[in-house]
């Protein structure tokens, strides 16, 4: 059940800000989409649209390949 205070509308930050490209070389930005263990957050928590969630996931996979982000971590943030 929705708490009365908690009705901030969730939005896709990419659509709202007109960002078209998710850069895999930018781990600081990608940390927003990842939890403390380094796992990708579901889009119902981040509010991202499906199209950009896929791009984000691909970018995270590339960043992990290049050791810019860990596959598994603890206390990442």
């Amino acid at each position: 059940m929705n708490k009365p205070q908690d009705t901030r509308k969730k939005y896709c930050r990419f659509k709202k800000n007109g960002i078209k490209y998710v850069d895999y070389k930018d781990p600081n930005f990608l940390l927003k989409f990842v939890n403390e263990q380094g796992r990708v957050l579901p889009r119902r928590l981040t509010g991202t649209s499906l199209k950009f969630q896929r791009k984000v996931t691909q970018a995270i996979a590339k960043a992990r390949h290049l050791a810019l982000m860990p596959y598994v971590a603890d206390a990442l943030k």
Binding site: R13, N17, I19, K20, Y21, D23, N28, H65, L68, Y71
Partner: protein, 148 residues
């Protein structure tokens, strides 16, 4: 002979096969690679030069070389915890990627590499980042991607 003997209309447009030259599309690529940390500066430079040479020889236009320097890896690769990161941006035909990646695989000083093709949004982003326009937008909006 009567027309009905043909199974299909005789092709008036048949001509002997001509070979048009295969034109490959020129695309924007970007490759990030990690050089082992055990080398000294001149050896690292030499390694990077080797790959810029490979690109030049295959008539690819090198757009930019970014050296991110020695960086800590998020997890150990070949038991090493740091590496020299380089990012090369170039345009060329599709066949150079194989040549470049083969050169990466053969060289023992490269511990990781990743080549990506850039679409128009990515090219736009890279140009804006190189022109230093990224931080201006960050001041205006809180969640824009940050420039290096």
């Amino acid at each position: 002979m009567p027309e009905s003997q043909y199974l299909c209309a005789p092709n008036q447009f048949f001509s002997p096969p001509t070979f048009t030259p295969i034109v490959m599309e020129v695309r924007n690529y970007e490759t990030v690679f990690i050089v082992t940390p055990v080398l000294n500066e001149s050896q690292v430079q030499e390694t990077v030069e080797k790959f810029t040479q490979v690109l030049k020889e295959n008539s690819a236009a090198l757009l930019s070389t970014e050296a991110w320097g020695l960086r800590k890896l998020a997890y150990p690769i070949q038991k090493k915890t740091t590496g020299y990161y380089y990012c090369l941006s170039f345009t060329g035909e599709g066949n150079i990627v194989d040549v470049l990646e083969l050169a990466f695989r053969r060289d023992e000083r490269i511990i990781r590499f990743l080549t990506t093709v850039l679409d128009k949004h990515a090219v736009d982003y890279n140009n804006r980042r190189r022109n230093g326009e990224m931080n201006l937008q960050k001041a205006a909006k809180e969640t824009e991607a940050v420039a290096h």
